[in-house]
Symmetry: C2
Subunit: 192 residues, 2 copies
DNA sequence: ATTATCTATAGATCTATAGATAATGC
DNA sequence: ATTATCTATAGATCTATAGATAATGC
């Protein structure tokens, strides 16, 4: 039942990708190692050939999901050079509406509080990703100084994360829509 | 070992209060029924005389924590009638810094993504609380129309939640401080 | 020969229940 | 007599490990 080195590397990458999706959808404690492996078409026991522990996988999945967001924001910025902020916020807030659910959405909005409760590698990988995303936003907004741009970018990032977090948690669809509409208007425009 | 009806009611209230703190600190899956009961000075088996299930406790703890936030925001508004927004945001963002940790902080910032993954009573109790908090903020901001006030209040609430969520998740203390400083400046002032 | 994966299981943990106990409240 | 709480445990689930298997790569 052994596979080639290339195949094993692909298997590892697929485990990380699937884990990232399942974690965002169900939470770190909402999905077990055995089910992640099953979704990847592998068996439970094989997991520990790829990772030292579930925490190890969580750190890798976190880093990979953040890296994917960085690539998406970068390509959105390049595709809309005159309204990078609008393109990013629209993409960011439209995710849920398009029925993709949280599994393909932002790691920050899906798991930041859970990441805060974990230590070590998970948090540091997440922090790197957060800084990288922030840098993209800094270049997507205007400001009389770099410091002012950074200030705006931080507020927008917090606003976007809070918007998605609240809209998802709320039970009332109309209220959720209202939250997202306001989020798009307030944080998607490069005011002042 | 039986206690009076009054004592039993107090025990129930204490279980809810302690559960609310532990859930915020460790997550819904991070603390078990047995440990909550132990913290309340009771035994595991007694739990099911007070609640039908852990989910039932989660809903009660969620509602109680939101109600406490509503009372706090209300009294802050009344104590600072000319800068209710500033008083609320300062209190909201200062929590972590004062070493209180998340256990006494905001339910939205600590558990909103986990609440989004749960169904039924937990989400509806949370939604009620969120609407009540929003109403307080609406009255704490100015605007040429009620609709504009509400829009500002929603953006501020999302901004505050996102600020706390990101500042907590991030590994770098300087970065966390920067996020909270910006959040206080941008969302704590009744601009425009 | 090495190693990626598989089967099987140990050990821990967690929710929920069953039945016993003892103090309250009619 | 009722009932709030306790002790003990069933049943499920989850992480991690041990040992076997079979195809790769030197």
């Amino acid at each position: 039942m052994r596979v080639s080195r290339d195949q094993a590397a692909q298997n590892r990458a697929r485990i990380i990708e699937i884990a990232g999706q399942q974690f965002r959808e169900k939470g770190f404690d909402g999905i077990g190692v055995a089910d992640v492996m099953k979704s990847a078409g592998l068996t439970h026991g094989g997991f520990y050939g790829h990772f030292n522990s579930k925490d190890d996988l969580i750190a890798e999945a976190c880093a990979a999901a953040m890296a994917l967001s960085v690539r998406r924001w970068t390509s959105l910025s390049e595709a809309s050079p005159d309204d990078a902020l609008g393109a990013i916020t629209q993409s960011y807030l439209a995710g849920d509406a398009h029925g993709e659910g949280q599994m393909s959405g932002c790691m920050m909005a899906a798991l930041a509080p859970d990441i805060a409760r974990r230590g070590g590698p998970v948090r540091s990988r997440f922090t790197e990703g957060t800084k990288a995303l922030l840098d993209i936003l800094v270049n997507a907004v205007t400001g009389r100084s770099k410091a002012r741009q950074r200030e705006k970018a931080i507020a927008i990032m917090a606003g976007l994360v809070g918007t998605v977090v609240l809209a998802r948690a709320v039970d009332d669809p109309d209220f959720a829509r209202e939250i997202k509409r306001v989020g798009a208007e307030v944080f998607g425009r490069d005011a002042e």
